[in-house]
Symmetry: C2
Subunit: 165 residues, 2 copies
Amino acid sequence: MPSPVTQPVFRRATGDDVPHIVRLLADDPLGAKRERYETPLPTSYDEAFAAIDADPNNELVVVEANGQVVGVLQLTFIPYLTYRGSWRALIEGVRIDSRLRSSGLGRRLFEWAIARANERGCHLLQLTTDKMRPDAIRFYESLGFVASHEGMKLPLQGSPDAWRP
Amino acid sequence: MPSPVTQPVFRRATGDDVPHIVRLLADDPLGAKRERYETPLPTSYDEAFAAIDADPNNELVVVEANGQVVGVLQLTFIPYLTYRGSWRALIEGVRIDSRLRSSGLGRRLFEWAIARANERGCHLLQLTTDKMRPDAIRFYESLGFVASHEGMKLPLQGSPDAWRP
């Protein structure tokens, strides 16, 4: 495992990254209940990647350091009539390798994502974060995010009982 | 203005609906600061509508009653790797004509949107609502939404100072 991280690269994910991303998603107290990091991976992961990759308004971004995927987030760009017709960016699925948390890598990933959202002409970047993640909330506030809204979730038919949304 | 509403129709918006939708968006204490409901409309509204309409993962939905547009919301369907590869639905830009609030129309619009999100195979429906809208929060809770997350917003370069995200 790289330590210190010298030259992280921020790039669009490829299909080959999917198992490494799933490892990151599963390595988390909430994520462990939701994901299945096993060999072979459930094909539903590859199907979801194909849908993301085919959509010009979705970008799955990874951080690579010393040849390993050590961070991930997904950007979605959405056109709205609100704010006189405008684009927003949404971030979901943020993870940093547990061995590299508090290393500054998450901040650099977000700075990259903020620049990308500006480049796409978005006037607002938004995300929701579980109220059970106080450290994450403080991190986002340190980047300038304001917790002005309630993030409300409604499980639908496809939602297993075991999953907390 | 129709009262009572007898046969509301829920349907995808067309370009002809845009001025009527902007009227709804502007007729709101927060929306009034952000929108410009004037003739002619700023072309940015039509540009945003074209982007929404061209995207198979975005659906702008209106409620029509007695020939008038009296409600609107936007659904976005997003594929994610999380939850073993899954789709979520996001709702934004919800408005019901001020003369028809508390009439049950908002509930019917949401029931329609929930059914549509199920039809698209989504496991979760999510939205953020301004903490300054306590009535809206209670309404969403009555539909089963849980305020489990903080809704965090970061204004970007294109955001006029006057706008609260």
